[in-house]
């Protein structure tokens, strides 16, 4: 490891941190955001090493922005979360439009791999020293030098498909999807459309007998380009509806994170009642999501009775959501600045929620202790798919997945938003790092969430439901974070003119968590692969990326499709 510089004294607060970071570049503090621009040449990796490995922060994501119309440069923002200091450090790198190259941080923080490649695909900024600078998101037949998230690329453009590309696409029947030679191992392809998968994704598992020696994942089958639509066509209040549709399970957390990001950027204070309603709906969503995961997990373990029970309990939660919002999912409650009028929780509704939650809790507690103490459940999950604490740090995993590996992290507790500022949130943390631990963490969270909703309902104040949002200043950065059922959900926005966003980037928690899956699959039995993959509660449509990891050497390679890729 490199030396962290002359100053070995650990900064005590965000102001000292700002002064400390002067040796790397020019820091500028605005509220919760510590922008660090003009990084001294050759110091970027030292800085990242210092932030991620020494200061106890963690790498969250990277965002590429085409800011040529504003200041003439491409910008890359690396977001680090330093919970201890209560700041987001945004390492702001600029790339010259003529020769857009910046230094890669992936060699220091492996978690940055996908985010950097996503920027290469969409903005066209190259990363010097990236271990696998290959395409991640765009399809293989996408032409070179066309970068869809640049501002000069129109959102309704039909791509000029050349004859050559069209021909290559015609020839690439699924049969030519030939896995790369991998010694004498047997290749087991799973996906992209497979009855056992609930979303389009593609895994290749390399097995030696019953042991998995290597795994590959190709995703991005359902990338729809909603960021471009939001930036080009939709107004601030319309985006919250498309944000809600990012995920069919945790949609409300996305729309909340989006609204919070705009509120942060514009400096809008959300009325307390709206914050409480947001938190209540978020907790309802968490309970339903965890029930769903439990059901899926039991199903994959071959215990379908458990699956049926969990999904029946989940149905009661869906009824509850329907009673409150009118929909099972897609609550449609969020607008920038608060909650829409019709979504108010009146006193009669509050009493109804309490009664229904008590019933669900009673029913749940009748079953769950019996189920999780079943011998076959324990045998299939204890010591399986272990992710050590150090690996969890390396891949910056989030949410219940991190909490099961002994990392104390929860946005609700350490960076409280919405009504979590006013109540104490209990977070379960276990050290085992196996699937059983993940199950127990989620089990505890269901009970904690039910308690939390009770407490929130008791204290809900009488204030208006939304703030005035008639003025949203231009060119402001905002980050909205929520604790989704799967971990930290981050939305980054830059406000623009004409009631539109300049840039919006949602980052779902599975984006970070999925990177840890190959590490968990190493040396496990093939029969355990489905439950290991499912144990992070993956949400592929939220995430959608590609990665290949050679498990033996830890080396990463691109996933190639023979005969399809023209001149990479």
């Amino acid at each position: 490891m490199r030396s962290s510089g002359i100053n070995q004294v650990r900064p005590r607060n965000k102001y000292e941190l700002m002064i400390d970071l002067r040796r790397f570049g020019e820091p500028r503090l605005r509220g919760k955001y510590l922008f660090l621009s003009r990084i001294k040449s050759g110091r970027l990796r030292d800085l990242v090493d210092y932030l991620h490995w020494r200061l106890g922060g963690y790498y969250s994501t990277s965002i590429g922005v085409d800011e040529r119309p504003l200041d003439g440069y491409f910008h890359v923002y690396h977001v680090f979360v330093l919970e201890e200091y209560g700041v987001y450090v945004l390492v702001d790198l600029i790339a010259d439009p003529g020769h857009p190259v910046v230094e890669s941080i992936t060699p220091v923080v492996p978690a940055a791999n996908w985010a950097e490649r996503e920027i290469m695909d969409f903005i066209g900024v190259k990363f010097r020293g990236h271990p696998e600078p290959h395409r991640l998101i765009l399809p293989d037949d996408w032409p070179e030098n066309v970068y869809p998230l640049r501002k000069d690329y129109p959102y309704d453009d039909k791509l000029p498909t050349s004859d050559k590309i069209a021909k290559l696409v015609r020839e690439s029947s699924p049969a030519t999807w030939e896995p790369e030679a991998h010694g004498d191992h047997t290749v087991i392809p799973v996906g992209p459309y497979h009855p056992a998968l609930h979303e389009p994704e593609y895994f290749e598992l390399f097995v030696e007998g019953e042991k998995i020696v290597d795994a590959r994942y190709k995703g991005f089958m359902v990338h729809r380009g909603i960021e471009k639509i939001a930036e080009s066509r939709l107004s601030y209040n319309q985006v919250s509806f498309i944000a809600e549709r990012i995920c069919g399970i945790c949609g409300f957390t996305h729309s909340t994170a989006y609204c919070q990001a705009v509120e942060e950027a514009a400096g809008i204070d959300v009325p307390e009642r709206a914050e409480y309603i947001r938190s209540i709906l978020l907790e309802i969503e968490r309970i339903h999501s965890h029930f769903l995961w439990m059901g899926v997990a039991f199903h994959l373990l071959g215990y379908d009775t458990g699956f049926m029970i969990m999904w029946r309990l989940r149905e009661s939660i869906m009824d509850l959501a329907e009673e409150l919002t009118g929909s099972r999912k897609m609550y449609g409650a969020n607008i920038v600045g608060g909650i829409r009028d019709k979504w108010d929780i009146r006193d009669d509704k509050a009493a109804l929620i309490k009664r229904m939650l008590d019933e669900i809790r009673e029913e749940y507690l009748k079953y769950i202790p019996k189920i999780i103490s079943l011998e076959e459940i324990k045998k299939r999950t204890r010591g399986v798919g272990v992710l050590s604490r150090s690996d969890a740090r390396k891949y910056s995993v989030l949410g219940p997945h991190a909490r099961a590996s002994g990392i104390k992290t929860d946005v609700r507790k350490y960076r409280p938003y919405a009504a979590y500022k006013y109540v104490n949130v209990e977070i379960p943390v276990l050290d085992d790092g196996d699937i059983y631990a993940r199950m127990i963490v989620r089990h505890e969270e269901i009970l904690a969430s039910i308690d939390l909703i009770h407490r929130l309902l008791d204290n809900i104040p009488k204030t208006p439901l939304h703030a005035d949002t008639s003025y949203i200043p231009e060119r402001r950065h905002g980050i909205g974070c929520t604790e989704a059922p799967r971990g930290e959900d981050l939305h980054f926005v830059i406000t623009g003119r004409d009631n539109k966003l300049y840039r919006w980037r949602p980052r779902a928690p599975t984006y970070n968590n999925l990177l840890s899956v190959p590490a968990m699959l190493r040396e496990e039995y093939l029969a355990d692969a489905p439950i290991i993959i499912a144990s992070i509660d993956p949400c592929f449509s939220c995430t959608d990326h590609v990665v290949v990891v050679d498990l033996r050497s830890g080396r990463r390679r691109p996933l190639r499709t023979r005969g399809v890729v023209g001149g990479r």
Partner: protein, 167 residues
């Protein structure tokens, strides 16, 4: 032993599935279902068209027939209810109807046609007859004449009057 306890619990619980397609299902009070435009209330102002996130509502002026069409295509609707919030006349609202499968694509459209209003000076159509009527009714007597003109003619005429008024 635990397995048997779970089984007993399930037996005690009995059947939980519902006979839905054969028996009606309970519809929650707040359900946002099929949006319906009341053609008698709609004035063709286009507020819902601006608010609609997925472009399920569109507006088209046909100069030949001198009609404005507000087109609602349920195939694109996401049932957010923004149109209901935006409508100043309460003309569009979300019903609790949710069984929307249709045999023809055409069945998913609702079209409201409104007569276009032409500016008495330049003859250009700029809004609907019904909307101008409502605007005029809501205005005090002395402002009514100017309100019937299209924005461009109104600007030139009122500028003319104002320039005299100053002297």
């Amino acid at each position: 032993m635990n397995r048997i306890k779970v089984l007993l619990e399930n037996l005690r619980r009995g059947v939980v599935t519902e006979q839905y397609p054969f028996k009606p299902i309970r519809v929650p009070e707040r359900l946002r279902g099929k949006p319906v435009i009341d053609p008698d209330k709609c004035a063709g102002c286009g507020a819902c068209v601006n608010a609609c996130p997925p472009n399920a509502l569109t507006m088209r002026d046909d100069k030949h027939s001198s009609m404005r069409f507000i087109v609602l295509f349920i195939g694109r609707c996401i049932y957010c209810g923004k149109c209901e919030e935006a409508c100043p006349f309460g003309a569009i609202r979300l019903t609790r109807e949710f069984e929307l499968a249709a045999e023809n694509r055409e069945d998913l459209y609702q079209v409201v046609g409104l007569r276009l209003y032409h500016c008495p000076l330049c003859g250009e159509p700029f809004t609907t007859v019904r909307l101008i009527k409502r605007v005029v009714e809501a205005l005090p007597e002395e402002q009514r004449a100017a309100a019937t003109l299209c924005p461009r003619c109104r600007e030139s005429v009122t500028a003319h009057y104002r320039s005299y008024a100053r002297r």
